[in-house]
Amino acid sequence: MRFQYVFSEIATGLRRNLTMTVAVVITVSISIALLGTGLLIQAQSDATKGYWYDKVEISVFMCNDYDIGGNCSGAVSESEREEIRNTLEDHPEVADVFHESQDEAYERFTEPLDDPVADVITPDQLQESFRVALVDPDEYDGVVSAVSGLPGVQNVHDQREVLGPLFRLLDWFQVGAIAIAAIQVVAATLLIANTIRLAAYSRRRETGIMRLVGASNFYIQLPFILEAAIAGLIGSVFGCVAVFALQEVAVNQLLAPNFTFTAWVDRGDVWMMVPWLLLTGVLISALASFITLRRYLRV
């Protein structure tokens, strides 16, 4: 294998098809940037969920004197409360159980000052409750159904429901970004295939002679495949730079300083993606050219 030959062929090819090479670089960088954006949104969505899930808990409200019907027949009794506590503590998905009495609920309720409602509320109107932290916040269903039928339980409230719309929005962002990226990747693949076909056509005289004098297929195809891979690599690098820029401008400068109540993706998250983005860019380019050449440079 004479590498000097291979590299001079690549250089010639890239130069001769400069416009198409530039087109490939641009398309690959846009697809990789979109793919990176999709992954960034995914990482953001994970970060958001992780941040909020830790704070999410299930509240099991127990009956007070005024609750009749359902599981309630007046205030929850001592034995009912213990039964509920045991059920929660024995459940494998439950990490921690905290009891809030009516007095504590009253304190928390009246804590915000100058609330006129607070003046007419008495502790016995409020409900005592168990606050339950979960091992895996996604697995709330089992816990909810385990306790919601027990006597003395008035209502089970899952805070996840409040965050549900936010998470669904994040999920849609994620799907949308990945879908656009996928379409771009398809477009990039087709464009690369077309470029390589043109390159193969413009060098058909050389490749024809190479076949004739017995050059192996590998040797004939290698310059084309490397040419595509190099264009793909350059495009991917630009794409990664765009993702870094997006993270810096959109998150570090715009969102994170203004919305401090949640977690944001940081530059480390982007660095984690870089190898995959580069690999994707190089692989789709090399693969697209390999498949094209199988059709156009046959023995």
């Binding site: 294998m1 005289r205 002679i209 004098v213 297929n217 040797y219 023995v299």
Partner: protein, 229 residues
């Protein structure tokens, strides 16, 4: 060296077969003219030897290899043992004489040392000493064909195929190319030359195989062209 057994080749787009039930054998070191009108199957014959086409039926052996059993990835190795010369020379216009010949060795991965030894030797053999750095468009037709022959011969093939190598050359230049092919033949290389050039065939007095509509109609040692166009 080349053996065809009942070889038939039908191209899907054509009505009649390009070659029909052809059986023949070329021995090692022979010089064979392949004659016949256009469309008689000469080019198909050469393409079959190179395994650029597969026969519809029949068996072909080249240089001891059964082409039917030869897997695709071994075809390049077959072609390294078969040099080919064309009517239109097929040189690379942006490479010098030396580079054109060296190209054939480069692309099969030969080391630079061997290239620097073998290319000047073969250029001397074909009579292009001192023209290493010329570009193809600075050469006459005959000289360009000598580069073509040098490229086909530089890897010392067992077989040399020539598809109308003198078709674009004037008679005097053609004689020079024929002398060159004859010299190559004398080194022990089997030469098969498809041609329309009556005077050359008549002068050389070599074996003549005549095809017509894909059929072998004459196989004559020390033959002449034998029909008029």
């Amino acid at each position: 060296m080349i053996r065809f057994d009942n070889v038939t080749k039908v191209y899907p787009t054509q009505s009649g077969p390009a070659l029909e039930n052809l059986s023949m054998e070329v021995e090692r070191g022979e010089f064979v003219f392949l004659v016949g009108p256009s469309g008689s199957g000469k080019s198909t014959f050469l393409r079959l030897v190179l395994k650029e086409e597969k026969p519809t039926s029949g068996r072909i052996r080249v240089a001891g290899k059964d082409l039917h059993r030869l897997s695709n990835w071994k075809v390049p190795h077959l072609r390294r043992r078969v040099g080919t010369v064309f009517q239109d020379f097929r040189l690379l216009p942006n490479k010098t004489v030396f580079e054109n010949v060296a190209f054939a060795l480069q692309v099969i991965g030969k080391p630079r040392r061997q290239i620097n030894r073998d290319v000047p030797a073969v250029l001397e053999l074909v009579g292009l000493d001192g023209k290493h750095d010329r570009m193809p468009d600075q050469l006459s037709g005959g000289e360009q064909q000598r580069v073509g022959v040098a490229r086909a011969f530089v890897n010392r093939p067992l077989i040399m195929l020539a598809d109308e190598p003198t078709g674009n050359l004037d008679p005097a230049t053609s004689v020079g190319i024929m002398k060159l092919l004859d010299r190559i033949n004398r080194t022990g290389t089997t030469v098969v030359m498809a041609t329309h050039d009556q005077s050359i065939v008549d002068q050389m007095r070599k074996r003549v195989i005549q095809l017509e509509s894909g059929r072998l109609v004459r196989d004559q040692s020390r033959g002449v062209y034998g029909y008029t166009r």
